[in-house]
């Protein structure tokens, strides 16, 4: 088991390095940056940068310095805002995004597995067809349609919920409802479908037949024999799900004006504040890598065929 964990951990490192390297070069070569010909940046920012990046040193040394800086947690100065550096901006906005993302995903997982379970045990009933149709709609309707529609109905017309604001800035908990529901919907739908299919497949397996032949009750079979195997694909899915939620949250944050990292991102991209956007990319990548790592470990615990090899 330990070997498995170590192997997985080592696998993270190349990806991280590739991202940092990519980041380094994009900052340099992309048009409109301080290293390009158009010096459209305030002098003070330029000074910060030159000081920081030791532009007089060789490229290799600069690269090395950059890598070390990043690994130490220092993402450099912003290209646009002269007073604060990238760490500051990420520091104030990341927690909001994380709260939004984690709550949405947890909701999606709990509701999704629950729905999938109910559907699978009542296969082909009206409830089953209904929930699966809702699930298909859930994966088809884009976030940027759901969000505004919810906002239109609940905030503008019915006046039940606020249109913007965020709980962590001190506003009421009601500000969380729409963003979380919007973001959770597609993942809830996907997980519901996935769980249902997976549970059905396990219910048809030979080893469940054996369990029945031994006289075990259906509930014992479901809890003890079925769930562990059936939930494996769901756990597998969580890795890519985290990645998608990152991008989904950008839209949700924009629509509902949640002060998260995603909201800054587009604007920074258009502003060509490269250090900020690459800093964001590095942070998100690191989070993703860690999440994927955790998912792999959990999967290893759940499937004895993998870890006890």
């Amino acid at each position: 088991m330990t070997k498995y964990i170590i192997r997985r951990f080592l696998g993270l490192i190349p990806t991280l390095f590739i991202i940092i390297t990519l980041s380094f070069f994009i900052i340099r070569i992309a048009p409109g940056g301080p290293f390009s010909e158009e010096r459209a940046i305030p002098k003070q920012v330029l000074d910060n940068i030159e000081k920081r990046y030791h532009l007089d040193e060789s490229l290799l040394k600069q690269y090395g310095r950059y890598v070390l800086d990043v690994l130490r947690g220092d993402l450099g100065p912003s290209f646009r805002y002269k007073d604060y550096d990238v760490n500051h901006y990420i520091g104030i906005s990341l927690p909001n995004s994380m709260v939004l993302g984690l709550i949405s995903l947890t909701l999606a997982i709990l509701l999704g597995i629950g729905t999938g379970l109910v559907s699978a045990t009542r296969q082909n009933s009206t409830l089953d067809y209904l929930s699966m149709s809702v699930a298909v709609i859930g994966i088809s309707i884009p976030l940027f349609v759901v969000g505004p529609v919810l906002m239109y109905v609940f905030a503008m017309k019915l006046n039940l919920l606020p249109t913007s604001g965020w709980i962590m800035s001190g506003d009421s908990w009601k500000t969380m409802l729409m963003p979380v529901l919007t973001l959770a919907l597609p993942y809830f739908a996907y997980i519901a479908r996935l769980s249902r299919a997976s549970i059905l497949e396990v219910l048809r397996s030979d080893y469940v037949r054996t369990a029945r032949a031994k006289g075990l009750s259906e509930s014992v079979i479901m809890i003890k024999h079925v769930l562990k195997g059936a939930l494996l694909p769901v756990v597998s899915y969580l890795g890519p799900a985290f990645a998608h939620i990152v991008t989904g949250s950008i839209v949700v944050e924009t629509i509902f004006r949640v002060p998260g990292l995603g909201r800054h991102f587009i604007q920074s991209a258009l502003n060509r504040d490269y250090t900020l956007i690459m800093g964001t990319v590095i942070v998100y990548s690191a989070i993703l890598l860690i999440m994927n790592f955790i998912v792999d470990i959990v999967y290893g615990f759940m499937d004895p065929r993998i870890s006890y090899r």
Binding site: T15, A30, I141, P148
Partner: protein
Amino acid sequence: MSEGTRQQPQNPFGQPIKGVSLWTDAWRRLKKNRMAIGGLVLVTLYSLLSLLAPLLPIHSYKHQVLSHQYLPPSLTMSAGQLLCAREEERLLDAAKNSGRPSLNDEEKEELARFTQTIENETMVFDGRTVSIHRNRYLLGTDALGRDLLARIIYGGQVSIAIGLVGTLTAVLIGLIIGALAGYLGGTFDYISMRVVDVMYGLPYMLLVIIFMAIFGRNVINLFLCLALVSWLTLSRVVRGQIISLKNSEFVQAARVVGATTGRIVFRHLVPNTLGVVAVFTTLQIPSFILMESFLSYLGLGVQAPLASWGSLVRDGVDGMNNYPWMLFFPGLAMTVFLFSMNFLGDGLRDALDPQSKNRL
């Protein structure tokens, strides 16, 4: 019993003998799935509308008639009638504010003049003179007075085209890499699967956004970017299939006869993966359209005057408080298309791999 000419040969039990290919069998199963057929019908409808758009008797999607901006959808009233109704209401409000319950003569004359102008005004489009106020906008207009129905149809053209071409590109890349990786194994396999792993770990959407922001927002970049991140899953799936088929007897037979690697892979193995490829394609198209719309919504996708569903929704969000149709109709059109494709994809998957249904 046997009498004259029969349609099908029968075995000794009187049961018809029919050989079935994978696709005939799948089609038969698909036909029974009502949701999937419904999806198929809708998708065909959309495709026809997109293809035949230039021939359809609809308004132009790009002609701007500024006096027609923000007209609500109407099945019966023409633009002129709507404008007159609006004017009348405005005058009535003004009258009420002055304490009068109805229009006085002066105002009535103003209204009459207004109506007269409306009836006679024309504009020139592409060299033709058009009495524009006779136009009827079934789904309303947008901020620049453009017909929403036409924009949705043309937007659909763009979105569906991008979805189709993008998916086919991703499929091509994924198929080739997956097939070769699966068949050749060794270094090629190792390297390509490492690449896939790394790419899976990157928040690729963020990189796509960066790419589009830096290198310009045109359709070619859009295709490139999106196709580059979409081929991953298919390559893995194809590789898996090929690996399990690699050692089958028909492959060994081909090798014995002297077939080259290329021939074995592309002539024998790949056709056997077409089932999964078909399912993947059907389910990837909506995914592609979502990605493209997402980018367009953020302003990074297709640019004006081209419209895609994503950019239409974006325009709609801006005015949604007062002009909700600008949000609802494009959103609805898009959602209906996407879930038709999803139902179709599901049905296709069930039809090609029936083990999920009547398993004994």
